[in-house]
């Protein structure tokens, strides 16, 4: 048992952090809700209770997976680029603009729209990447600022050039059907983008752990001086990690537009980029674990929405809970004492076990 704990210590730590988050939310519900039973049920079982809600849960996870990957790659390179939100927004705007103003057969249209969105996002990742690599400008602040720039420029483009005036509110023209991603499970909005996101997770895993560039990215993140002395072109690595991140985030935004709404309809920045930070940290920047952490967050998110609808508790409780979970996971000393005690006990047990033979 103790060996098991030591081996999977990191995962167990994450699990305990999540458990604490859940316990806190249960406490909050009991304190505030007038009908705690119904509230608890809608939060924790809600997403499973009907087909459309389950669909909601899966479809919500998809952009979060994309953004988690988009954040994890620069994080692995030691770059605090948190610009996934901006890349996703501006990518989806430009992709939509391209989609509504061109017409071609679907087998060309879908990949081209995705590519245009992705390249826009890649450019959005390139700016902080280049500034950091060349002049050591803080990529954190630059990517934050660019999120706001992306938001306002995106709104301008939609509002003044691609706005569907027939609709009563600020949305773009509808994409032609050739640029739609199919919703393939009747009764839900689960679309092909979900599968693309899983594909990207596998690709990114392969890229990070089984290619030279991936190795260079991880090494630069681990110790940049070591990487430099080892002959890795750190300049290139810093830029590429952020360019790929921007590319993936934008694809995530675009698949959401093509698969769910079929037109650009975000008046507020959707916040997936910040969710990406959350799932990347919970998943320890590992693409396969990011799938799991995204599903977890999407489940809570949908549960939170149902909770908001059916009871007296605002869905922002989920934001509070996720911030607590991140704090606990990122706190290295959290449970470190426990690990230390087990390690010592294990070592002592070994000594005792070895004594008779010596």
């Amino acid at each position: 048992m103790e060996k098991f704990i030591l081996k999977y210590f990191n995962l167990i730590r994450v699990a305990i952090a999540i458990l604490i988050g859940i316990i806190i939310s249960v406490c909050i519900i009991y304190i505030i809700s007038k009908e705690p039973g119904i509230s608890l049920k809608s939060l924790f079982l809600g997403p499973l209770l009907s087909k459309s809600r389950f669909g909601n849960f899966i479809e919500t996870a998809s952009p979060i997976i994309f953004c988690g990957l988009a954040i994890a790659i620069p994080f692995q390179a030691g770059q605090f680029n948190i610009g996934a939100e901006g890349a996703l927004f501006i990518g989806a705007v430009v992709g939509t603009a391209f989609g509504v103003s061109t017409s071609m057969p679907a087998f060309l249209h879908i990949p081209l729209v995705l590519l245009v969105a992705g390249l826009t996002g890649a450019f959005w990742g390139f700016i902080p990447g280049f500034l950091k690599a060349k002049w050591n400008t803080s990529e954190l602040v630059i990517s934050l600022m660019l999120n706001y720039v992306a938001y306002f420029i995106g709104l301008y483009l939609i509002n003044f050039h691609f706005r569907d005036k027939a609709a009563g509110y600020l949305v773009s023209y509808k994409l032609p059907e050739t640029a739609w991603l199919v919703q393939f499970i009747p009764g839900t909005r689960i679309h092909v983008g979900v599968i693309i996101s899983l594909g990207f997770a596998v690709l990114v895993y392969y890229f990070l752990y089984h290619t030279t560039l991936g190795y260079e990215i991880r090494t630069s993140g681990f110790n940049i001086n070591f990487a430099r002395f080892g002959g890795i072109n750190v300049f290139k690595v810093i830029i590429i990690a952020q360019v790929i991140g921007g590319f993936i985030a934008a694809i995530g935004g675009m698949t959401e537009v093509m698969g769910v709404h079929r037109r650009f309809n975000w008046q507020l920045s959707p916040g997936y980029g910040w969710d990406g930070v959350v799932v990347a940290i919970i998943g320890r920047n590992n693409p396969l674990l990011i799938i799991l952490s995204s599903l977890f967050l999407a489940y809570l998110r949908v549960g939170g929405r149902i909770l908001n609808l059916l009871s007296d508790i605002p869905s922002e409780m989920i934001t509070v809970i996720q911030s607590i979970i991140i704090l606990l996971i990122t706190a290295e000393a959290f449970l470190a004492n426990w690990k230390y005690k087990i390690t010592v006990r294990e070592a002592k047990a070994k000594e005792v076990g070895n004594e008779p033979s010596t």
Partner: protein
């Protein structure tokens, strides 16, 4: 004369600059103090937000401005303490911990806003008090200058005093000396018996203190209500402002003033035929350019210095 030029040259415009600079200045001082001790606090966004919220709520429910001030400041310092606890004691990465705290602040303020007012947007259904404006006698009578300098919110004057306080703290007190020592060379500081963690904690608490004043000004001076995520990135712009000023007191002031001017221009050219989206993106765009230019100059200077050393 061009009407735009006329309005920009008016005393009201300078007055507006001072008004929009106030929250940035408080936050920038908060960031600068934390950077000087070597642990950057990017949680000012959350600190301002949570203080802005509790100031409004406390004043609405108790009717006391003093309690609102004390409460708002304590919450802000509490956020600084929380960040310090997680970073210094539990060894969390300070950037990720601060991101989490920003998220926490955004969530918890909307959560309680809904609990207290059954509204998720603004607190307009409860009546918040505001901090008074000060008319300065004599100066008030001077034409132009009086219009610019007199009649500001009391917190605005305190923001200006804070620059002096910041200077005094950093250069004239032993705590300031220790903060700088810990920031520049923690090992050397430790070797002469300075408790690094304690000093860093103090600087984070101070950071929370100044941030909380910025938040209180936003919701109880700049406007008289709380609205969700009302800080709108000011805590992040403050990081850029402090960085532009090299995190020194006067530089931080000038950095904040620079962004104040950009913001005020954005407000003043709003009636023109320029799409408002462009104007709103201006301060953020300028931050990117300014920060890039600043770091280019910094890296050139470093190159020259290292060349000199080689010679």
């Amino acid at each position: 004369m061009n009407p735009l030029l006329k309005s920009i040259l008016s005393p009201q415009f300078v007055f507006a600059i001072i008004r929009v600079t106030t929250p940035l200045l408080f936050a920038a001082i908060g960031v600068a103090i934390s950077v000087l001790s070597g642990s950057i606090n990017i949680g000012l966004e959350g600190i301002m937000l949570i203080s802005a919220f509790f100031g409004v709520i406390i004043s609405a429910f108790t009717g006391s401005l003093v309690l609102a001030l004390i409460g708002g400041i304590l919450v802000g310092i509490g956020m600084g303490a929380l960040l310090g606890y997680f970073h210094l004691k539990l060894k969390a990465d300070i950037i990720i911990a601060a991101i989490a705290l920003n998220m926490f602040a955004s969530g918890i303020t909307i959560f309680f806003l809904y609990i207290f007012t059954h509204d998720k947007g603004t607190s307009s259904s409860v009546k918040s008090l505001i901090f008074p404006s000060l008319q300065i006698p004599i100066i008030k009578e001077i034409p132009i200058l009086g219009e610019i300098i007199s009649g500001h919110n009391v917190l605005t004057y305190f923001a200006l005093v804070s620059v002096a306080l910041f200077y005094y703290l950093i250069y004239k007190t032993s705590l300031g000396l220790r903060i700088r020592a810990v920031g520049q060379n923690p090992d050397a500081a430790e070797s002469v018996g300075v408790n690094i963690n304690k000093i860093k904690l103090y600087s984070l608490l101070l950071s929370g203190f100044f941030g909380s004043l910025g938040g209180l000004y936003l919701s109880m001076g700049y406007v008289s209500w709380f609205s969700r995520d009302m800080t709108a990135g000011r805590g992040f712009i403050a990081i850029a402002a402090a960085a532009l000023g090299g995190n020194f007191p006067l530089g931080t002031f000038l950095g904040a003033l620079f962004f104040g001017i950009v913001n005020a221009i954005a407000i003043y050219i709003a009636p023109l035929e320029i799409p408002s989206e462009f104007i709103h993106s201006l301060p953020y765009f300028v931050t990117v350019v300014a920060l890039a230019v600043y770091s280019i100059r910094l890296s050139r200077r470093k190159k020259i210095l290292s060349k000199k050393e080689e010679i």
